[in-house]
Subunit: 139 residues, 3 copies
Amino acid sequence: MWKQDTLELRPRKRGFHLITSEVIDFLPELRKLKVGLLHLQLLHTSASLTLNENADPDVRHDMEAFINDRIPGNLPYFRHTLEGDDDMPAHIKASFLGTELTLAVRNGGLATGTWQGIWLGEHRDHGGSRRLMLTLNGE
Amino acid sequence: MWKQDTLELRPRKRGFHLITSEVIDFLPELRKLKVGLLHLQLLHTSASLTLNENADPDVRHDMEAFINDRIPGNLPYFRHTLEGDDDMPAHIKASFLGTELTLAVRNGGLATGTWQGIWLGEHRDHGGSRRLMLTLNGE
Amino acid sequence: MWKQDTLELRPRKRGFHLITSEVIDFLPELRKLKVGLLHLQLLHTSASLTLNENADPDVRHDMEAFINDRIPGNLPYFRHTLEGDDDMPAHIKASFLGTELTLAVRNGGLATGTWQGIWLGEHRDHGGSRRLMLTLNGE
């Protein structure tokens, strides 16, 4: 069984945001599958998707502090600067963290570990809404 | 054909470890497939999976030295520090390197290049055993 | 429907290169699919694959400048140095950026966003031709 649809994520502020339940609620077909895979692809190049901790919000804070510290906006060799200091770092973060994920599906749900959640990384100051293409395959 | 199972990886010390043959031996169904995909997902947020060199162990040494140098544990802005200096860096390494992989399957085996192997990155000092969810799909 | 084949990419100079149209042209079967996934796996450990901007070449320039700045070749703790200063950084870049991608397929084409393109990251000075294993699954 294949199922594909685009989830429109509401605008979020710069930083990392848990979107696991939003994804699951959007896909009722997930509940019918015994085994399969769910593929998630952001249709953007300045935001990211990653699996990380779903509990302590300090983990998301520290990740954001770290990437802003290590991938700053004012590096002297940057040429792609017209759209602001948050633009080129956003592209770099998107490639370092990734913009697509494949997740195991098992017994009607995601087979994520106890502490795993899906994070949206919003790397622009004003990124606006973000489209997430979801492709489900399984039986 | 779909097949899904969880491989329990024994505890390993902090660093990078080749697990390719362990994965292949765990999945006899792989040998029956002419074409397909194998998805691997660690069910943890402080370890990682990546494809890299399967020969010279110095490459694994240098990768570990590099990530410890560039993703240290004592950054002043870290808040998630209760579990020790190895905790928050482990979360960051997990997202930078990734915790899931999809690999091409061809003629009864993994279609990896000559020098490619599957690396488990253990980023905690005492991470314990790690569960790896394997999902195979093909024909 | 499954389809698998290896695309031989011609030698490219060190840096990032757009290969989206080369991939699409190589796979006429893509046009027959309503929904599916395309998996791309580089069979090498010193080059990378990532999704990023397909328009302004300055983004590719800045990404290359950034990774050379932050992942240099002459770090004192590197042991894997016999093949030159570009070797160990190439392995690190391959794992940070990734060597495999899964992309959504929709209505006979890739379901990438308006600004998304497939980048080959060539991280060696003389990497030679690169093999890219393509696996298509869908209906």
